[in-house]
């Protein structure tokens, strides 16, 4: 059973507007969360992360919000650019756990 869920398989947004990607998790032991971006025929690359002691982390156009009580996190991309068109994976880990659990991914398409 997937412990990290991305319920929206795809998202289409106009260039310059905000993209909001959502992620839910079920394992209350998770305390570190990451977003990865993947282009076709390439491996995923790290985008941004957040630990459970924070509720927000910002890096340029990318902001991740964490709501621990709801077991929910979201990634905001503002403004969206054509180069942001990719698959975005949400991932989570528990303390001292070697591995990450990934969601199914959300494909973002930014329209010109």
């Amino acid at each position: 059973d997937q412990q990290v869920k991305q319920n929206s398989p795809s998202l289409s947004v106009q260039e310059g507007r905000i993209s909001i990607l959502n992620c839910d998790y079920t394992n209350s032991m998770f305390d570190y969360f990451l977003w990865y971006k993947k282009y076709p025929a390439e491996g995923p690359t790290f985008l941004i992360s957040i630990s459970s002691i924070k509720d927000k982390n910002e890096d340029g156009r990318f902001t991740v919000f964490l709501n621990k009580s709801a077991k929910h996190l979201s990634l905001h991309i503002v403004p969206s650019q054509p180069g942001d068109s990719a698959v975005y994976f949400c991932a989570a880990s528990a303390p001292y756990d070697y591995k990450l659990s990934f969601g199914a991914g959300t494909t973002v398409t930014v329209r010109a």
């Binding site: 390439e42 491996g43 880990s93």
Partner: protein, 114 residues
């Protein structure tokens, strides 16, 4: 430039063949991982290794084995390939520590089993 290199980008194999997927990292990372990526399922962990000669099963180890004889190299072996193992295989590495932290991925190996 740090790198995770997977030996083959594209492979086509026949059912029953033995398949080796090789992965090398140049970052002196302790941890190495093999994931497979399938549409609608995301990335699922097959096996990982936290040290030389150490291995742990991930979520979907059936039909796979691994080998880590040197710190920089982690191999995935399909003893007898089957059509349901057609997938994109991704190798990754990371440092140890409080958090698993950032994984560095290779470019992937697209395997087709006929």
């Amino acid at each position: 430039d740090v790198k995770v290199t997977q030996s083959s980008r594209y492979l086509v194999k026949r059912t029953g063949e033995k398949v080796f997927l090789e992965c090398v990292q140049d970052m002196d990372h302790e941890n190495m991982f093999w994931y497979r990526q399938d549409p609608g399922l995301g990335l699922r962990l097959i096996y990982f290794s936290y040290d030389v000669k150490m291995k742990e099963k991930g979520d979907i180890p059936e039909g796979y084995s691994v080998s880590r004889e040197k710190k920089e190299r982690f191999s995935l072996i399909l003893e007898s390939a089957s059509t349901n193992q057609t997938s994109m295989y991704l190798c990754a590495s990371s440092t140890s520590g409080r958090y698993t932290g950032e994984l560095f991925f290779g470019e992937g190996s697209r395997l087709t089993v006929l």
